[in-house]
C-alpha cells in the first residue's frame, strides 16, 4: 500500500495543519470546526469519515429532530409500548406474552438510481432492523410511489423496484401482505420506495443495541465487507489510489438475500440460546454507525481492530471499511464464555463471524489499523451529539391560491350515462386500478400464517396457532391531500391506516411513519414538514396510538420542484382471534349493504378530480378523529360478534371504488340505491373520511343497526349484494365482466 504515513491519532496531533476534505464529505464549515473542538485537535481521516457520515441528514436527523420531538412529547399513554423511538425499531405488547416490532423506512434515492438493487436492499435493511430487536420477521409491506404511469422512465423504475422487492423478500421467506402503489407526476425522478417489516418475539426476548460489560467481545458476522455503498469515503481514499484498486465502485449496494436468510436463522438461534448481550445491524454508515451506537448506548467504551474485518476487497482503506455499506452484516456483543458457541452457530449456517474487538471499561471508542490508533473518540459525540438545525420555515405564498381553487366547483357528470362513463374511467385509472400484476410477484403464502394480504384493507398474520392471536398492518399516505393541507393531510393518512386496520377487525395499537419530503433548505418544504408532524403527533395523541419509530427522507426533489409532501403512516393492530377477521370481498348474495359515517361534498384532492379533471386544489376531506375512533370500535365489535361478513374502508375513489373492489373480489354484484339527501355523484365519488361500507347478513341486520344507533354512528342502508352487475338504480348498471376488464387490465398493459 502506498499510504505513508498512516493518519493515526498521533499523526493528526503532530500535523494540525493538514487540510482534510471535509466539504467533499458533506460537512459544513461550522460542523467541521465543531469536530475539531470536540477532539481538541484535527480529526484523523478515519474519524472524519465517521463524523461526516454519522452527522449526515440521513443518520443524524439534524433538520428534522426539533420537530420529531413532538412524537415523544405528545405521546399518548399506552400500556402497549415496550420500546419506543430511538432503538432499531419500536416494540409493542400485543398480549399473551407476545411483543411485536415494526418499522417503515425509505430507500428512495437508491431505487431511482438502480431500481432492482435499491428496492431489494431496502427490504434487507428493514428486515435487519427487526432481527436486531430479537424478533423473527413475519411479514413485509411496501408502500411505493412512482411518476406518471405512462412516463417512459416509470417503465424503467417500476418493474425493477417490484422485481427487487420480490427477488429479495421472496428469497427471505417473508410474506408480503400490504402496501400501496401510487402514481403522480410529482414523483418523476423521485420515486418513493418505502419498506416496512413486522417481527414477533416473546417479551423476554427483546434485545437492544448496546455494548455492556467490559471484556465482552464484539463480533462482526455475515457478509464480507466490500467497496459498495462507500459514497464519499472514496475521496479520503483517493490519495491512496494505486493500480491494484478498482477505480469505480457502485454507490448503490448490492443485496444477497440468501446471505440475509442465513443471517436471520443464525441470529435467531443465537438469541434462543441467550448468547447475545447487545446487537446492531449494519445499515447506513456501516461499521461507523454500529460501533459508535453500540458503544454510546452501553456502559463502557469499545476497542476495535479493523484489520480483523473480513474483506471482499483487500485494497480497502480503513476509512472505506468504516463507511462501507456492504449488506447482510450484523454486529453482536457476546460474553467471552459464550463466544465459542456463538461462532459455532455461525459456522453451522455457513456465516462468517469474526471477533473484531471488545468492550472496555473506559468511555472511548478506539479503532486500530496496522497497529496504529486511527480513531479515539467519545462515541456519543459521533452517534448522538450531531448538529441540530432549526431550519427556517414559512407557509408558501401559493398555498392560499391552491386552497381557493375549489374542486367542488369542477363540472360534474349530469346523467346516468356520464356517471357510468366516469366510474369506468376511475376504476381503470392507474391509481385506482387493480395492482394484482405487481402483488402477484410477491410471495404472500410463505410461513403459512397469512390470514389477509393485499388487496385487503390490512394484512393480517396469525402469530399463535393455538389461540389464533394475530397482528394487522396497514400503510397509507395521500400526497395530494397533504399538499393541500399538510396538517390535516398527515392526519388523514393516519385516519385511513387506522380505519383500514379496524375494517379488518383488528384493534389499532401503534404507529410507525416514513416521512417523505423535499429539501429542508426550502422554507416552504420545511413548513410542510413541520405542519405534517404537528398534525400527525396531535392525531396520534387523540387516537391513543403512539409513534414507535420511523424514518425521515428529505431532499426528494429535482431542482426547485419538490414531491408532494408524503407522510406514509403504518398502523399496527391486534386481533384476538384471526377467525373473526373481516375480508373485503362480498361473500353472499342477499346480504345488506350499509354505509357507515357521513357523506359530504368533499372532492378536494380526490381521485375523481385527478382522473376526470387532472385537478389538484381546494381542501382535503374534513378530519374527525373521534368519528374515526367510533367507527373503528363499531367495526371491531361487529367483526368480533359476527355481525358483518365483508367490510371495506372508503378512501380515494369514494364509495363506488370500494363497492367495485368488493364486488370483483367476491365475484358478486351489488344493487345500490342513492340514499335520501344525497345526489348520485356525491354518493358515489365523495371522499369524506370516517366511512366504511359493510355487508350484513339479514339475520344480523337489527342487531347491527341497533348497535350503531345506540353508539351514535350514522348508518344508511344503501343496497344489497346481488347479481352480476353493479347497478346504481335509476342511474346505470355495469356488468362485473366489464368492470373487471377495466379494473384489471390497466397495469399489465402499462408494464407487462
Amino acid at each position: 500500500m502506498s499510504r505513508t504515513p498512516l493518519d493515526t491519532v498521533e499523526h493528526a496531533t503532530a500535523t494540525p495543519d493538514v487540510e482534510l476534505p471535509w466539504a467533499e464529505l458533506g460537512l459544513k464549515k461550522d460542523e467541521y470546526e465543531r469536530v475539531v473542538e470536540i477532539l481538541g485537535r484535527r480529526p484523523t481521516g478515519a474519524e472524519l469519515a465517521m463524523y461526516s457520515v454519522m452527522w449526515s441528514e440521513h443518520c443524524s436527523y439534524k433538520s428534522s429532530k426539533v420537530h420529531l420531538r413532538q412524537f415523544g412529547e405528545k405521546a399518548p399513554q399506552s400500556d402497549a409500548m415496550l420500546v419506543g423511538i430511538g432503538e432499531n425499531a419500536g416494540v409493542v405488547d400485543v398480549g399473551q406474552g407476545y411483543a411485536v416490532t415494526f418499522k417503515v423506512e425509505s430507500h428512495n434515492h437508491p431505487s431511482y438510481v438502480e431500481p432492482y438493487q435499491g428496492a431489494a436492499t431496502g427490504v434487507g435493511g428493514i428486515v435487519r432492523d427487526i432481527i436486531a430487536m430479537g424478533a423473527r420477521p413475519v411479514a413485509v409491506v411496501d408502500p411505493l410511489r412512482f411518476g406518471a404511469a405512462d412516463h417512459p422512465d416509470t417503465k424503467r423504475v417500476l418493474p425493477g423496484v417490484v422485481a427487487g422487492i420480490g427477488g429479495y423478500g421472496n428469497c427471505l421467506g417473508l410474506p408480503n401482505i400490504g402496501g400501496e402503489v401510487v402514481f403522480d407526476a410529482c414523483y418523476q425522478g423521485n420515486p418513493l420506495v418505502n419498506a416496512g417489516a413486522i417481527g414477533v418475539m416473546r417479551h423476554e426476548d427483546i434485545h437492544l443495541a448496546k455494548a455492556s460489560g467490559a471484556g465482552n467481545k464484539v463480533i462482526l458476522y455475515g457478509a464480507r465487507t466490500g467497496g459498495d455503498g462507500i459514497g464519499g469515503a472514496s475521496i479520503l481514499a483517493s490519495e491512496t489510489f494505486d493500480d491494484a484498486k478498482p477505480s469505480k465502485r457502485p454507490a448503490v449496494q448490492v443485496g444477497d438475500p440468501f446471505q440475509e436468510k442465513l443471517l436471520i436463522e443464525c441470529t435467531l438461534e443465537a438469541f434462543a440460546e441467550k448468547l447475545v448481550v447487545g446487537i446492531q445491524d449494519l445499515g447506513a454508515a456501516g461499521l461507523s454507525c454500529a460501533t459508535s451506537e453500540l458503544a454510546s448506548n452501553g456502559s463502557g467504551g469499545m476497542r476495535v481492530t479493523l484489520d480483523d474485518v473480513p474483506l471482499r476487497d483487500s485494497t480497502l482503506s480503513p476509512e472505506e471499511i468504516l463507511m462501507s455499506e456492504s449488506q447482510e452484516r450484523m454486529c453482536a456483543v457476546v460474553e467471552p464464555a459464550k463466544v465459542d458457541r456463538f461462532l459455532e452457530i455461525c459456522d453451522k449456517w455457513d456465516v462468517i463471524a469474526t471477533v473484531i474487538g471488545e468492550v472496555t471499561d473506559g468511555d472511548r471508542l478506539e479503532i486500530y489499523w496496522h497497529g496504529g490508533k486511527i480513531v479515539d473518540v467519545d462515541p456519543r459525540t459521533v452517534a448522538h451529539d450531531g448538529p441540530v438545525y432549526e431550519r427556517p420555515y414559512a407557509r408558501p405564498d401559493w398555498q392560499d391560491a391552491l386552497q381557493a381553487d375549489d374542486a367542488n366547483k369542477l363540472p360534474r357528470p349530469a346523467t346516468g350515462e356520464e356517471l357510468r362513463d366516469q366510474v369506468l374511467k376511475l376504476v381503470s385509472s392507474p391509481n385506482q386500478a387493480s395492482k394484482k400484476w405487481i402483488t402477484s410477484q410477491y410471495d404472500h403464502f410463505v410461513q403459512g400464517n397469512t390470514v389477509l394480504a393485499q388487496p385487503e384493507d390490512s394484512g393480517i398474520i396469525r402469530i399463535d396457532e393455538e389461540t389464533g392471536l394475530g397482528v394487522a398492518i396497514a400503510t397509507d399516505g395521500n400526497g395530494r391531500y397533504t399538499k393541500l393541507d399538510p396538517y390535516h393531510g398527515a392526519q388523514l393518512a393516519l385516519s385511513e391506516a387506522y380505519r383500514n386496520v379496524a375494517t379488518t377487525g383488528a384493534k389499532p395499537l401503534a404507529v410507525s411513519d416514513c416521512l417523505n419530503f423535499g429539501s429542508p433548505e426550502d422554507p416552504a418544504v420545511m413548513w410542510q414538514f413541520a405542519e405534517a408532524i404537528r398534525g400527525l403527533a396531535d392525531a396520534c395523541q387523540q387516537l391513543g396510538t403512539p409513534v414507535t419509530g420511523g424514518n425521515v427522507s428529505l431532499y426528494n426533489q429535482t431542482g426547485e420542484a419538490a414531491i408532494h409532501p408524503t407522510p406514509v403512516v403504518a398502523v399496527l393492530g391486534v386481533i384476538d382471534d384471526v377467525a373473526r377477521r373481516t375480508p373485503v370481498a362480498f361473500r353472499e348474495e342477499g346480504q345488506l349493504l350499509y354505509l357507515l359515517g357521513d357523506t359530504r361534498e368533499e372532492f378536494g384532492g380526490s381521485a375523481w378530480s385527478q382522473v376526470i379533471h387532472d385537478h389538484l386544489g381546494g381542501l382535503p376531506p374534513k378530519v374527525d378523529l373521534e368519528r374515526e375512533r367510533l367507527l373503528a370500535e363499531i367495526l371491531i365489535s361487529a367483526s368480533r360478534d359476527g355481525m358483518i361478513d365483508a367490510a371495506h374502508d372508503l378512501s380515494d375513489g369514494g364509495l363506488i371504488q370500494a363497492v367495485v373492489e368488493s364486488a370483483l373480489l367476491g365475484d358478486k354484484g351489488a344493487r345500490l340505491v342513492v340514499p335520501d339527501g344525497l345526489d348520485a355523484f356525491t354518493f358515489l365519488f365523495s371522499e369524506s373520511a370516517g366511512r366504511a361500507v359493510v355487508a350484513v347478513p339479514r339475520s344480523e341486520e337489527l342487531r347491527f343497526t341497533d348497535m350503531c344507533g345506540a353508539r351514535g354512528l350514522p348508518v344508511t342502508r344503501i343496497g344489497v349484494v346481488d347479481g352480476d352487475t353493479v347497478d346504481v338504480q335509476g342511474e346505470f348498471a355495469l356488468p362485473l365482466t366489464e368492470l373487471r376488464t377495466a379494473h384489471e387490465e390497466t397495469i399489465p398493459a402499462l408494464f407487462a
Binding site: A163, F258, F445, V446, Q447, G448, T450
Partner: protein
C-alpha cells in the same frame, strides 16, 4: 403408531416449518432433517420443501443436490422410500435425476404467486391416493423457475405411463410443457410438483382452502397401513 416424515432444511429453505405443520395437521410426526445429515434418522418418508436453497445460485436446486443428506436420500428413494418434492424440492429432485426433465425460468420472466387450479391426473402415487383421478383442486403456486421442460420422448413416455400427476388448468402460469405441474417416478413413490400443497391445509390461512391436505393424509395412510 404414526408415521415419521422427514423435512429437509437446506440453507435457504423457506417452507420447512410450514411443511412440518402440514404433516402434523395430517396426523403424522414431522422430523426435522438437516442438509448435512449423513443418514435419514429412520424416517418413513421425506419431503423436500420449497424455498431458494443456496439462493438458487447457479441453477435452482443444482447446489442442494450435492448436500450430504442427498446421498442416503437418493439411494433409499430408488429403493422405494416415499419422497415428495415441492417447488424447490421438485427442482432438486430433477437435478438429482430422481425425476426426469428440468425447470427453466417462467416464460413471462416474473416471479408469480397465485392460487392455481390443477387437475389431479394420477391418484395412484404414494402421495395422491386421497384424491380421485380427474379431481380439480386449487393449490397456491409461487415460483421464479417453474417452467417444466423435457424432450418429446420423455414427455410422451411420462404421459403413456400415467406419470403426469398434476396438470395446470385455466392458466399455464409459467409455460410448462403440456401444462405439467407435477410428475412421479415409475414406481410412484417419488413425486414432484411446483405448487405448494403445504400452503393449502387450513381453511383460514393462505388461499383459504384445504385442497393440499390429501398429500399428507395419502402418505400417512399408506405408511400406517403398510
Amino acid at each position: 403408531m404414526t408415521a415419521r416424515i422427514g423435512v429437509v432444511t437446506f440453507p435457504g429453505s423457506l417452507d420447512d416449518r410450514d411443511t412440518q405443520r402440514a404433516i402434523r395437521l395430517a396426523g403424522a410426526e414431522p422430523v426435522a432433517l438437516w442438509h448435512k445429515d449423513k443418514d435419514l434418522h429412520q424416517v418413513d418418508a421425506v419431503v423436500l420443501c420449497g424455498g431458494f436453497s443456496y439462493g438458487d445460485y447457479l441453477r435452482a436446486g443444482a447446489i442442494a443436490r450435492f448436500s450430504p443428506v442427498m446421498e442416503p436420500l437418493i439411494e433409499q428413494a430408488k429403493a422405494g422410500l416415499p419422497v415428495l418434492g415441492i417447488c424447490n424440492g421438485f427442482q432438486i429432485l430433477t437435478e438429482a435425476h430422481l425425476l426426469p426433465g428440468a425447470m427453466l425460468g417462467n416464460d413471462h420472466l416474473h416471479f408469480i404467486c397465485r392460487d392455481q387450479k390443477l387437475r389431479v391426473e394420477n391418484a395412484d402415487t404414494a402421495w395422491t391416493t386421497d384424491y380421485t383421478a380427474g379431481q380439480e383442486i386449487h393449490i397456491p403456486l409461487k415460483n421464479m423457475d417453474g417452467r417444466y421442460v423435457a424432450d418429446e420422448y420423455t414427455l410422451d413416455k411420462l404421459e403413456a405411463e400415467g406419470r403426469v400427476a398434476f396438470r395446470y388448468l385455466g392458466l399455464n402460469p409459467n409455460g410448462s410443457l403440456r401444462d405439467i405441474a407435477g410428475i412421479s417416478n415409475e414406481a410412484g413413490n417419488v413425486v414432484g410438483l411446483m405448487p405448494h400443497p403445504e400452503h393449502a391445509v387450513e381453511p383460514l390461512i393462505g388461499s383459504g382452502r384445504t385442497d393440499g391436505l390429501p398429500f399428507f393424509t395419502s402418505i400417512l395412510k399408506k405408511l400406517v397401513n403398510a
